[in-house]
Symmetry: C2
Subunit: 389 residues, 2 copies
């Protein structure tokens, strides 16, 4: 494995790197009971995100959950993040304007790689670039694939894995994994949501249908509107319109269909999302692509709101047909499902969410994966006792 | 050093990777006389570029010059490239719409890294990402820095060099190198131009001033117009307006100054560039930043056209004051220099261009650098004789 070179140059650090120790780590002595975990978030949004940023929301739950289990956790994320872990920031502010660009992503990831020797494991959420750079350290990486593996992304992961002997990937669902079975998977770990922030409603019903997502054909807003029309229900659509392609799609395909009880309410914050979920007959999620996960479906479930979704990607694993909602392929079948939504018991939805999508379950799964890759890497595990939870 | 892992997975190749062997390599037997050189171009533009793409133009001259010296050369570039070398393409078409994005850049660079074991040296023109990935192979890399090292780019190079023991960088000018003296430089190799495509004019004079560049404040189009007004000369401005920021700059700062003999002619192709240079009194290049190189100044020089430029970045190394043009800091001094342009002998300009900026000189410098890093890497050099030129 590569070592950081012993250079004759003075050590150089990015001038804007800020190291902040959370108070609760000061005074800890017995590190043998804990894993030292570096969590590498993407640099594009704060952890947790202000509005948009599913990956950053999940990373936030993971980091704070690991801290609560008394692991020693350092989060590598932008300086506007809030965390119970130590925070190391390459950038004072998240770089959403530079989304996807090599320069900030590489600089951010190298900050973590440079420090990786101080950790037992790196939980990497930056995608293929982090995986490629994992070759630069002997500390094992657990790389969570948050995006689709269709098309070029899958090709890229295969290419990176060819040159990364210790690659250990986490998929979000079995569907996600099955789209690229040949990759070196170590676990399937479904995302979690902050259950406390998504309380369950008491009553069934609701006077409108709800759609939430990015404004792209993949997410099926037009089909959702067709379902509303076919079932004679009003509909609220929410979500950000990002970039020129989504703007064009919205103006050409969605906007002409608005009116007559079909309303677009724009981007909404998490509190508003819960409020609109609580008032909805159902969340309509007519995906036109194989989404690797679907946080919004889990949020609806936690809130006690039925989900009506097409059988694409993760849907058959997340929606329990007839219990937490309905899986239906056509507009007609989805409209028929709207009629039957009052059969869905909010308490059953909540129970499924609590059983499968709690942060505790997710954090436990990650700790198991960390131990597995640490053992495989042949490193001494400094965890002599058991984690408290 | 990392080795490509011996995986139990079947070898996977990006489905769109195309391998094309140039005919002139077929039948070669005595490879011991040649270096096996991989040249890794950026994936954003074809090699050579159709219009915009200074790096790709230089890479094209390097690749074809190495082939003419009978080295065994493989160019890693988009499939719309034209070369005398072998061509390996990750993408059938150049990815200019994705300029700067990690996903295509990483996939493209890994194609080269994956094959690097088959070469004596990799001449890398992809910037910091290629340098970071060079750790994945034992084949030495010579990494040419084509961009500025001011600000975040310099920070990134320092960070990558920290984790890259064998880093060997090429700067374009001494000014370029001096902006980051602490980096592991192996050579300063000025760019070259295709001298045959830039014939020298016979006569002095010309009835307008000429400005050519990206439409940004860095390149000084407003100052150039002020020089034209102060000297009472018409001016032609040429160059592409790329992206929202340049569009806004053009509309707010430049467009209001047009008229009265000051004309913007848009983006022009190489032939039109030469034609407009031949008719110009001088190229006015009032840089407001430390440009690492300035191809357009060398092109003017080759065409026998004086260059009037501010003493920033590479200018004092490229412009021979009083011989190939004038170095002047203020609008007044530049306007005074316009008066003296007829003192500049086109043949002297041409002689300087031929001496310092020929492809032969550049290719020779690169071959020297390749030998140096190959020797340092402790590898057997398969070149038993001398290269023919």
């Amino acid at each position: 494995m590569q070592q950081v070179r012993e250079s004759d140059l003075p050590p150089v650090r990015a001038p804007d790197v800020v190291r902040r120790r959370s108070e609760d780590l000061v005074g800890r002595k017995d590190r043998s009971e804990r894993l030292r975990v570096a969590v590498l978030a993407p640099p594009w949004f704060a952890v947790p995100p202000r509005r948009y940023g599913g990956t950053e929301a999940v990373v936030s739950l993971l980091v704070d959950g690991l801290v609560r289990r008394r692991h020693e956790v350092t989060l590598f994320a932008s300086g506007d993040s809030r965390t119970e872990a130590s925070l190391v920031s390459t950038f004072a502010e998240s770089r959403s304007d530079d989304l996807g660009l090599t320069q900030p992503e590489l600089l951010h990831a190298l900050t973590c790689v440079h420090d990786a020797h101080a950790f037992d494991v790196v939980s990497d959420h930056t995608g293929a670039l982090g995986l490629a750079l994992s070759n630069l350290t002997s500390t094992p990486f657990v790389n969570t694939v948050h995006g689709t593996l269709a098309g070029e992304a899958g090709t890229l992961y295969r290419r990176v894995c060819e040159v990364t002997p210790g690659a250990a990937l986490v998929s979000l669902t079995e569907s996600h994994r099955s789209s690229a079975r040949d990759l070196p998977w170590t676990a399937t770990i479904p995302n979690a949501i902050a259950l406390d922030d998504h309380p369950c409603r008491a009553s069934r019903g609701g006077e409108y249908l709800f759609w939430l997502g990015r404004m792209s054909a993949d997410k099926g807003p037009v089909t959702a509107i067709e379902v509303a029309r076919a079932s004679g229900m009003p509909m609220l659509l929410a979500g950000k319109v990002r970039g020129a392609a989504e703007q064009a799609y919205f103006e050409e395909e969605v906007e002409p269909l608005l009116g007559g009880g079909i309303e677009y309410v724009g981007e909404i914050d998490p509190e508003e999302r819960v409020r609109l979920l609580h008032g909805a007959r159902a969340l309509v999620n007519p995906l036109a692509w194989d989404e690797p996960f679907g946080l919004v479906m889990v949020e609806a479930m936690a809130c006690g709101v039925p989900v009506i979704a097409t059988p694409r990607g993760s849907v058959p694993e997340i929606v329990v047909d007839g219990v937490t909602g309905w899986i239906a392929a056509s507009v007609e079948d989805m409209a028929a499902a709207v009629e039957r939504c009052t059969e869905i018991d909010p308490r059953q939805c909540r129970a499924v969410a609590e059983r499968h999508y709690s942060p505790e379950r997710m954090v436990g799964d990650y700790v198991d994966a960390f131990h597995r890759v640490i053992e495989r890497a042949g490193r001494a595990i400094p965890l002599l006792g058991r984690t408290p939870f």
